[in-house]
Amino acid sequence: MLQKLDLLESKMPAKLPRPETAGRGRSLPSESRDSSRKPGASIISRDIQRRFRRLGRTLLLAVGTALSVQGFAGAADEGDAAKLEFFERKVRPLLVANCFNCHSADNKAAGGLRVDDHKGLLQGGNRGPGVVPGDPEKSLLVQAIRQSDPKLRMPPEFKLEDEQIAILEQWVREGAVWPALELPEDLGKWDANYEALRREHWAWQPLQNSAIPGVSRPEWVWDELDAFVLARQEQHQLNPVADADRLSWLRRVTFDLTGLPPTPAEIDAFLADATSEAHATVVDRLLASPAYGERWGRHWLDVARYGESTGSARNLPYPHAWRYRDYVIDAFNRDKPYDEFLREQIAGDLLPHSSPEEFDEHQIATGFLALGVKDVNQRFKVRFEMDNIDEQIDTVTRSILGLTVSCARCHDHKFDPIPTTDYYALAGIFQSSDHCAGLRNKMGGGGLDYYDNNLLLSLASYPAPTTSTDAEELAAAQAALDKAKAEFERIRGTPEGAELAPNGRPKQQVARQKMNRAQAALNALSDPASLGAVAYGVREAKQISDTEVRLRGEAEKLGPVVPRGFLTAVDVPGTPAVNREQSGRLELAHWLSSAENPLTSRVMVNRVWRHLFDRGLVSTVDNFGVTGDTPSHPELLDHLSQRFIRDGWSIKRLIRAVVLSHTYRLGTSQSPAELAIDPGNRWLWRHAPRRLEAEEIRDAMLAATGTLSSARPESSPVQSLRVIEMRNNGQESQAILRTAKDSQHRSVYLPLVRTLVPPSLEVFDFAEQGMVTGSRDTTTVPGQALYLLNDPLVRKQALRYAEQLVAREDWDDTQRLREAYLRVLGRAATPAEVDRAGQFLDDYAAISANVLAESFAEAASAESPPESEVANVDTVPVKPANVPDPAANPDDVEQTEEVVVEEQILARDPRTAAWASFVQALFGSAEFRYLP
């Protein structure tokens, strides 16, 4: 066994040294910069891991045993056996019986203090450390149980017996010994299976150079990539179908690149262009259009699990998230090199910048790390932090690497060679960074309790605040708040607090309101979000350090410390080691964006391919691990990845090459022979029709009727929300949904509060906002048909367009029909269709004259607002954020549920009604929904 392992190792020495850990194997706990770390803490260094592997199981077990005996995190050594027994027999029962009800993980942590956990006691709660080992006089726990201070009396209802107090005093005096955690046997164990996986699994092997394959029909090959495709087809006795006609190709490429239909003018121009460059001209026009970034930026927002609120049990808005959205759209439009795009999102704050604008852009980019789902109602800060770090690790590794690293939070990854130590090597990097989403955790908070304006990134390039803040004024506001806070704390939970104030409300409530008002006044003067422009993201933390393995993923159960670093399974030569003085995000950014990281380019090329062919070369686009799919065309994937890197990580160039290829030009028709061999079209012998995504369906309806605004809104409706809990039936939520319904902006700009996805997006399988979504579901369910038949948005668009058509008095119905077909379906109507539609219009108008008589009368009596009066609802007045009217504090005022008033969408006359129904039928047709 040993020999075998040695042999295996000696074959691949080049892979083992990990530059980022060089020379750190000898680091000792005393060298750690983390002053809170306890003596005796052990470090599993990467060097030791290497040694594990080299020396095999025997040594490994020996070291493992040493680890568990040595213990960590304030654990007792062997000499402490008696003290430990004292703790178990005398101390713990006292704590359980008298303290756990209010100060433990299973119940609550009153005052932020937990006494069921050693670290909890040492760190203490809001008042400070609960226990100072060896010093009872400085230990709040001892003071509290002595009950000499009337403001600090525990337990509140009675006093412990003197001998019980003495036991606890003795325990603290003797060092507050706490038993060590039991280390899992397999921690730090290097699974032999991992070695094989590292060597064998395709995804993390270096990119391969493959020769362009020879094919029997070289004239079919327009781009090298076609040769790879055709070679596979020939191998499987498949023949590609005929090319798509020009109109179909135009519709396909226009939607694929911009998410919008081609306009009649664009159709005419393309059909009239007889040059050999006609297709390239179209592609270049589309890539240069701002609509390109709006579509491809949205693909990245899916992957970045973008959302404008925390989601989870307490849903709080992220009023400034839209800056990240705009950053992503701009990055795609400017064709920011993908490697740079990644570096900015991981470590923008640590990159050099040459202007305030660039500084801001870099900061905003790090919003990628901050906009995930959060449970702010988490009681314990350490759990809140570790959950957020887990969310960051999951997002970063799945989006960029296609790996499910967060599986290794609690245990070594069961399928991929990702030990839990790798996970905590990454966790240390994120823990050394402040998570700036403007939020803190608090159990059962209300109002602005969760809002923390210290956790915001101030932007530099925006005009300085108009209100010049007077230092004196500020001090006064702070003093007023301190006073109000003190008063509230004084009467909180006291009989006095329950007394009624002159206004008939409990004094405690009045005091809370006063405190809220003072907070609001101070915010108005000092909140960076009120004074200037802010963004979410990350910044370097004050404390930079490695972090401990958390046993079974439990935030408080500290195992050995792991040096910060990257994944051991993915070998990236030339990556700099983590700078000990920094978080390590900069080096992580380089590791992720290196041309030598084979996953990064493969994953992104595959994402692009998936959006253009409706299926990736690797079908599991977010999972390149062992449980994921293997590539259908591995040589093609590597060929494109290398081109991508060679072309300066230009996504536009990659897309341009693919959409101008012969493979992309294929028609959708199916031949029985090919269908019999490859019904799933794995070998790309045809172009699979793609159902439009939710945004495309809505945007195309608005575009067809001429209502779609091509302008970018200034921000987001969410920006005007205060950072208080949103309830789904509450007024703010209903207002957001109304705004979404009436918006004329592109769908990418709709407010995207988690759990409040606009129905027009939700019904067509919008991305799950809680996680990386590289490939949305495509379902066909009756809810979609119901939407197209009944939804006010659809009906309104149809009516609006019908009114426009009817108003064209210079046209006859045939001209109107031609125009409608061209606008909605992107093609001319056939004579048969014109006849059929004419018949429909006549029939419909005749029937509706009877059955809709009442509604026509109603429409006539109602004053129909002229088109111009339709408010652009995205310009809702922006209240200064987080300067609340305290009366709106949810603690004080019940949020009432809004009665939803159904909108009346009435045609003026039978003819308009018929046209509206016809336009709606075009929207409802499968042809509108599926790209040829």
Partner: protein, 467 residues
């Protein structure tokens, strides 16, 4: 049990005439009132107009007489710890702290077990209400599956296989393909609150089967938007005819999307759903006593109760396959509290569902399936947790076609490995199909040059459990 002469609906060969379906579907509605004027109009119009359309979801004759007509699957997502709930292991209870044969430290359940019913079946204190029905339950105690990871195991439980390169149809889709559905005014396959994780829509998808067999997802507050028709039925039908004509035109083209038939069917179904479904989904129409029995309340705590009640209403109305879900069973830690929380959310509603089905005479034709994608180990994972176990775990069935108060198979003395009556996921599927009257070897779909089955190339029917 006699199933061939059904009291609810005859299983016939040809598509049912419109009127017959309506009549039959009406039987089960109970207190559900028909919708208002518009809804009635909708029905009158469709009675006249849809005799001609082909109906892929019309009731089809099963291979053999069916023992059950419908399935309600109560999916405990995340892997419920069976040794703490339904799989009592006295030896484990006595072996707390000892080494397990396969390594690790055994941990006895912290929950007490008692015997219930005439069968004296042991159930832990976590499920006192379900325990009262234990004589109705038919336990499959020897289940095992292939992959100890949730995504793969959940997908395998729903589709029979978890191979990334080829997604398979879900079992509900196979049932619709094989049997059609009794009520043409409702989706035949409904999944309430499906997980966005663990494969997402794959778990109720149709894969290579025609897309109209996929499940319809709804949420647990009973709201499906846009269910109210916004134009009079005559006019809407006119519009729908135009849409469908365009759709059929596209369908006839050589490059038609494969989902087109599903699009067409979704419109027909949507049109019909506007009639009865709004009322059907509205559980506030149930008497207070019924809602109380299920433990219906607003908010996340009442979710499973609402799902159970909706499942009964939908199943009663003829939905072939209804799946409901309780997530959060993945107790690597916080086992003790976590089990209490989840059992509290599921015990009363599950028991109420069984009682309600029985009281309405529906349990004779409805098969209830309860369980997880795999089980958990009897050994400790940390101070308060258990790790995944794919080598032995139970699920239970109740109702149509299965022996009540019966246990098939067993795990070893610690609950680790299935030792008797071993059933792989393929065997479970074969058995479920058999109960529904389908032969899993005959229910095939030709795709990519071969015949596919829910059970792939395996599957043995556990006839021992048949009543």
């Amino acid at each position: 049990m006699k199933n061939t002469d059904s009291t609810l609906l005859p299983i016939v060969d040809a598509p049912l005439a419109r009127r017959d379906v309506l009549k039959s579907a009406g039987i089960g509605f109970g207190s559900v009132a028909l919708a208002g004027m518009l809804g009635l109009q909708q029905q009158q119009v469709r009675a006249a107009s849809d005799a001609e359309a082909p109906r892929p979801l019309a009731v089809k004759k099963p291979h053999r007489p069916a023992k059950a007509k419908r399935i309600i699957f109560l999916f405990m997502e995340g892997a419920m710890s069976h040794v703490d709930t339904f799989d009592y292991k006295p030896t484990l209870q006595e072996s707390d702290g000892k080494s397990a044969p396969g390594g690790g430290k055994l941990v006895a359940s912290k929950f007490a077990f008692q015997q219930y019913g005439e069968t004296g079946t042991w159930v832990s204190d976590l499920y006192p209400n379900v325990a009262r029905h234990v004589d109705k339950l038919c336990f499959l105690r020897g289940l095992h599956t292939d992959t100890p990871a949730h995504p793969q195991a959940v997908i395998q439980l729903h589709t029979g296989a978890a191979i990334a390169s080829l997604t398979r149809p879900s079992m509900g889709a196979w049932l619709l393909y094989g049997l059609g559905t009794e009520n043409q005014d409702l989706p035949g396959y409904i999944t309430i609150n499906p997980s966005p994780n663990f494969g997402g829509a794959v778990n109720y998808g149709s894969a290579f089967l025609p897309a109209h067999y996929q499940g319809t997802r709804i949420n647990d507050n009973g709201q499906l938007p846009n269910l109210r028709a916004t134009s009079p039925a005559t006019l809407q039908r006119k519009q729908l005819e135009l849409i469908q004509e365009m759709n059929r035109g596209l369908q006839a083209s050589p490059g038609a999307p494969r989902e087109l038939e599903a699009v067409i069917q979704s419109y027909e179904l949507a049109f019909r759903m506007q009639g009865d479904v709004p009322a059907l989904l509205d559980i506030s129409q149930e008497p207070e006593s019924v809602r109380e029995a299920y433990g219906v309340k607003p908010g996340p705590q009442g979710s499973f109760a609402r799902q159970c009640l909706m499942a009964r209403r939908l199943s009663e109305a003829g939905v072939r396959f209804v799946e409901i879900r309780q997530p959060g069973w993945d107790h690597h830690n916080n086992l003790h509290k976590g089990l209490q929380t989840n059992a509290k959310a599921t015990d009363q509603p599950t028991a109420a569902l069984l009682a309600d089905l029985e009281a309405r005479g529906l349990l004779d034709e409805t098969l209830v399936l309860f369980g997880s994608e795999f089980g958990r180990l009897p050994t400790a994972q940390g101070p308060d947790g258990r790790d995944h176990n794919i080598t032995g775990y139970p699920m239970w069935l109740a109702g149509a076609g299965v022996k009540p108060g019966y246990s098939h198979g067993t795990t070893d003395e610690f609950g680790t490995h299935a030792v008797e009556g071993r059933m792989h996921t393929n065997d479970l599927h074969a058995t479920l199909l058999a109960l529904m009257g389908l032969d899993h070897e005959l229910l095939t779909y030709h795709y990519a040059g071969r015949d596919f089955r829910l059970t792939d190339v395996a599957g043995t029917v556990a006839t021992e459990i048949f009543a």
